[in-house]
Amino acid sequence: MNRRTKFLAGGAVIVAVLAYMIYAGVTQSAVYFVTPGELRAAAVPGKAYRLGGMVVPGSLKWEARALDLSFTLSDGTATVPVRHKGTPPDLFAEGRGAVVEGSWTADGYFKASLIMAKHSEEYKAPHDGTQAGYQELIKTLRGDGR
């Protein structure tokens, strides 16, 4: 094998390994964004989702001693009960949008491992979920623009 073939072979191996690593990485860590309605329609227990909706006013319960947080997310068409172990993040409140990451359980609730509190350098106008309507809210959460 001459030098050129050696280098080409080496390059091909590197590219193949890299492509595999990216493929494996994507398939293992891809998380789908769903709304409560979409989740209700076809929930796969144990699969990771990113669920976005409005925290239904009056649904928020926080047991400080036990660190149990529970609330309901809604997109206007369906609601999903969510449970989380831990303190609610700063930007989290009833009547506002929230995105949670976790999985659907066979017991009929969404087990959130992470509640997202995004930071932004730009000053964002406060988002009033009740006035803007669900459509608008989900659009912002999904970042969809459609």
Partner: protein, 647 residues
């Protein structure tokens, strides 16, 4: 008044920059030095005008001139003096001014340094700089004008984003932008080289130090950003693979690749094409990063059409890349390599592999960052790959890179003999293996941590071997130890600057490994007087007090931390800003070489009898900051002018 004056100056600066760019280009093409000289005057004028704009905006901030919309949205009467100054670049419009100002400054330095030294390349480089500067001034006039009237004039402003009220925010954007804009200079010289057809080594030698300067600032910016994230955001981490972070990391990776491949071209006349492409890519990525973070595209592919800034940046990026790559195609023949690789086991291939891995890392970061956009555009579903993706793909890449850091500098050029390998690498390999074994005996069971440790020790040992050998050689000719070491660093400052940077990277790698493998955290709700325990530390909740500050109100908890004896009282807080709907956490911590104790106040009872806290013991994180200091010192050493004559 302020608005008219500021906007007017921006417009004049724009016209001057366009004129200067055109004059320099025509002057270069027609060989008329008078035109180039006129372009120099224009550049000076542009710089003075941008400086005046910057000063005017700062003055508006200091005097609470709420007739300027940008001032009204980013400050209020309670904002402390310090943060009224940093508020100037606290949001998009102001950062564009800062960016243009730095670009203007770099253009002036370029004029002063290269006016007489690079006659053929210089006018074209100047034209490129002014052209790019004109683009940013265009952004300042049409897409994100900082000087815009606020009607009616507000009685009080809205205030700065509270997260930016931190000393890190003074330095972080400045360093980051000095890095970003710094890469414009190498790009300008690369363009000049392509246009004139002088694609040899001149442009490379001219831009080598410029690139290290930009790289130094970008590294500094990334490190300060990590520190800000760690001590302000309150999640206990320093890097989240956030698009904003990735945007700055990608050009850092390609610039690092360039700093290494430059040596191959200098030594072996190879990789000419590759080097030009790396410079173009790095500059393109700085534009792409700005596009990504400023256009709103990251939230959605459809969002960027809402503001003109996204379209403007994307258009300019396309123009720059097409022009640059078109020029590369035009000069294809001249860019072909003269040298040939001799052997797979050689310094050239180690460097080549280093470049391939750095580009691969840059590509994976790029891919992961735009993946949600791609999936949305192609399949209509928003799918994100988070930190797990980036970690999973990048950890093996970075481990290999660190390993190469040990091999590259010592392996022989052209073809390494078995003798050469044994002489340089026997001891480092032994020490690396010994370190892994020692770690295992001491109870480290994470294979990844052990592997990182072994690699780190191996690389550290190669640097030690080289340094000891070189010092010995000097001692043998009769020099004393201190002058010998000093002379070595000074005479071969690029080589040893590089080694010091490598040492910094090793320390950072240790910190990252330690914090990932061994950090622990928990949450607890405590009544007054109760304690929580974590990793041998006890945290006692003492009390909760309310404090009024100039522009906010805060609730501060006091927690006594002890591990057998009392160590400290930590006071994490929650800050309530009137303009914000939600409170902002204020972290308190106790830093240490072995571990940091990190405390966040999560929630509290209004009567102050109960508090929920998040406790973390973060292992070895301090080494990231120490490594950062070492790395920047190394970069500074490498920037010093090389001294060829004996001291």
């Amino acid at each position: 008044m302020t608005v008219d004056l500021g906007y007017g100056m921006t417009l004049v600066a724009l016209v001057l920059a366009i004129y200067g760019g055109a004059a320099a280009a025509v002057g270069a093409r027609a060989g008329r030095p008078a035109l180039v000289e006129s372009a120099q005057h224009a550049a000076l004028g542009v710089f003075v005008l941008i400086t005046a704009c910057f000063a005017l905006l700062t003055y508006a901030f200091l005097t609470f001139d709420f007739s300027v919309r940008y001032v009204a949205t980013n400050t209020n009467l309670g904002t402390p003096f310090y943060y009224r100054i940093t508020g100037v670049w606290g949001a998009l419009e102001g950062s564009i001014i800062l960016w243009s100002w730095m670009l203007g400054l770099y253009t002036l330095i370029l004029i002063l340094r290269h006016r007489d030294s690079a006659r053929e390349l210089y006018p074209w480089a100047l034209a490129t700089m002014l052209g790019i500067l004109a683009f940013f001034l265009l952004v300042m006039t049409i897409a994100a004008p900082p000087f815009q009237r606020q009607v009616p004039v507000a009685a009080d402003g809205r205030g700065l984003n509270p997260l930016l009220e931190d000393t890190g925010m003074i330095t972080h954007p400045v360093a980051l932008y000095l890095g970003f804009t710094g890469f414009t200079v190498p790009f300008a010289f690369a363009m000049a080289a392509l246009i004139t057809g002088r694609v040899g080594d001149t442009w490379l030698v001219l831009t080598r130090r410029w690139t290290i300067v930009a790289w130094y600032f970008l590294s500094l910016g990334l490190l300060i950003g990590g520190w800000w994230s760690y001590h302000v955001l309150g999640w206990g981490g320093y890097w989240a693979w956030d698009p904003v972070e990735n945007a700055a990391f990608m050009p850092w990776l390609t610039a690092t690749a360039f700093l290494h491949s430059v040596m191959i071209q200098e030594r072996r006349r190879m990789l000419k094409l590759w080097n030009i492409v790396l410079v173009i890519l790095t500059f393109g990525l700085t534009l792409f990063g700005t596009f990504l973070t400023r256009s709103g595209v990251i939230a959605s592919v459809h969002a960027f059409t809402q503001g003109s800034i996204g379209a403007l940046f994307l258009g300019f990026l396309a123009l720059v890349m097409l022009t640059a790559l078109g020029l590369v195609a035009w000069r294809w023949e001249a860019l072909r390599s003269q040298g040939e690789l001799d052997s797979v086991v050689s310094r050239e291939s180690a460097f080549l592999l280093n470049n391939v891995l750095l580009i691969a890392a840059a590509f994976t970061v790029f891919f992961g960052t735009v993946f949600p956009l791609l999936s949305e555009a192609v399949r209509g579903v928003k799918v994100s790959v988070g930190a797990p993706f980036f970690n999973q793909v990048n950890v093996p890449l970075f481990l290999s890179l660190i390993f190469l850091m040990g091999v590259g500098p010592l392996i022989a050029w052209r073809r390494a003999s078995l003798e050469n390998l044994k002489k340089n690498f026997l001891w480092p390999v032994v020490l690396g293996v010994a370190a892994a074994a020692a770690a295992f005996v001491l109870g480290v069971r994470s294979a990844l941590a052990a592997l990182t440790l072994a690699t780190t020790v191996f690389v550290g040992a190669t640097i030690g071997v080289d340094f000891v050998r070189a010092t010995r050689a000097r001692l043998r000719v009769g020099e004393a130890l201190v002058p010998a070491v000093g002379g070595l660093l000074r005479r071969h400052n690029r080589r040893y600057g590089g080694f010091v940077v490598h040492l910094g990277i090793l320390l950072i790698a240790l910190g990252v490994t330690g914090s990932h493998a061994w950090s622990v955290q928990t949450e607890a709700t405590l009544r007054r007087g109760e304690t929580a325990e974590l990793a041998g530390y006890r945290f006692r909740f003492d009390d909760l007090t309310a404090v009024e500050e100039s522009n906010h109100f805060k609730v501060v908890g006091a927690f006594t931390v002890s591990n057998g004896r009392v160590l400290d009282v930590l006071r994490p807080a929650k800050k309530f800003y009137p303009q914000e709907q939600s409170p902002i956490a204020y972290v308190d911590y106790r830093l240490g070489l072995k571990e940091d104790v990190y405390l966040v106040l999560g929630d509290f009872a209004r009567d102050g009898t109960q508090a929920t806290i998040k406790l973390q013991v973060n292992r070895l994180v301090s080494w990231i900051w120490i490594g950062g200091v070492v790395l920047t010192l190394g970069a500074l050493l490498a920037i010093l002018p090389e001294r060829r004559t004996p001291a």
